[in-house]
């Protein structure tokens, strides 16, 4: 368990009321509920950031993968199927 430090927060009334309701229902201190919510939020933020980086890496890997395709191969890849033109 990480060390704790006392602080003062100013919170939106509705969010605070909901946190108090949860604390009462679970018979725990309000600080426990607030700490859990903050930790969950921070974890989700960190996961979203990591997922964003994964998306960037995956797209860049794909760009590198197609960079050596010829124009004819790109046409085919884009569903443009050519045949000799009747002159």
């Amino acid at each position: 368990m990480s060390p704790k430090r006392r602080t003062t927060l100013t919170l939106p009334v509705e969010a605070l009321s909901e946190a108090e309701r949860i604390a009462r229902a679970r018979k725990v201190n309000l600080s426990v509920v607030i700490a859990e919510v903050i930790e969950e939020g921070l974890r989700a933020r960190s996961a979203a950031k990591a997922e964003g980086e994964r998306r960037v890496q995956a797209f860049e890997a794909y760009c590198r993968a197609v960079s050596d395709l010829t124009e004819d191969e790109m046409l085919l890849l884009n569903g443009i199927i050519m045949e000799p033109a009747d002159e």
């Binding site: 998306r55 960037v56 995956a58 797209f59 790109m74 890849l77 045949e83 033109a85």
Partner: protein, 181 residues
């Protein structure tokens, strides 16, 4: 300039193709900023078009080259984010559009002494209609690199609102405008 944070956007096959080949640092930066915030949103039709392209490349490739193309195909699948299905609303919109616009607005592509197979041009047109319908049903802007086809679709929706009740307008963004070029 299109703000990446205002996404998500649906990327048409032509936009996806343009983005994957662009080496412009401003474009790469825009895309990285976008992808840090949103998955790459594409239609299932775009996935079909692209995987069909790989299937054709693989069919025509020499045996020694097949693994090379298979790796590219896998890299494409790894890069996908949110894939939108063609749901009932998109199917109805696409059907109305297909009836309004049975023929593609631009001729088959030509290059050197080659011309695009006519039925393939029609196939691509119907794919464009399905992709536009998906964007309209999902109410997200469509990023494209095919103004002739998509502007025709947008105009048809605007001029026949009775066929598309409580939908539209189709919000189009050219891929060339992403970075304010």
């Amino acid at each position: 300039m299109v703000e990446p944070a205002f996404g998500p956007y649906l990327f048409d096959t032509s936009a996806f193709s343009w983005l994957e080949r662009s080496t412009d640092p401003a474009v790469r930066h825009w895309l990285a900023t976008y992808l840090r915030r949103h998955p790459m949103h594409v239609s299932a039709i775009t996935v079909m078009e692209r995987i069909r392209g790989y299937a054709l490349l693989l069919q025509r490739a020499a045996p020694g080259q097949r693994a090379h193309f298979a790796l590219k195909r896998q890299a494409y699948l790894n890069s996908l984010g949110k894939v939108w299905p063609v749901d009932a609303t998109a199917a109805v919109v696409a059907a109305e559009l297909s009836a309004l616009l049975p023929q593609p607005p631009s001729p088959p592509k030509r290059a050197h002494r080659m011309v695009e197979v006519r039925q393939e041009r029609l196939f691509r047109w119907r794919c464009d209609i399905l992709i536009a319908a998906t964007a309209l049903a999902a109410e997200i802007p469509l990023i494209h690199h095919n103004p002739q086809d998509f502007e025709t679709i947008r105009m048809a929706i605007e001029t026949s609102p009775g066929r598309f009740p409580s939908l539209g307008p189709l919000n189009l963004v050219s891929v060339l405008r992403l970075t304010g070029m």
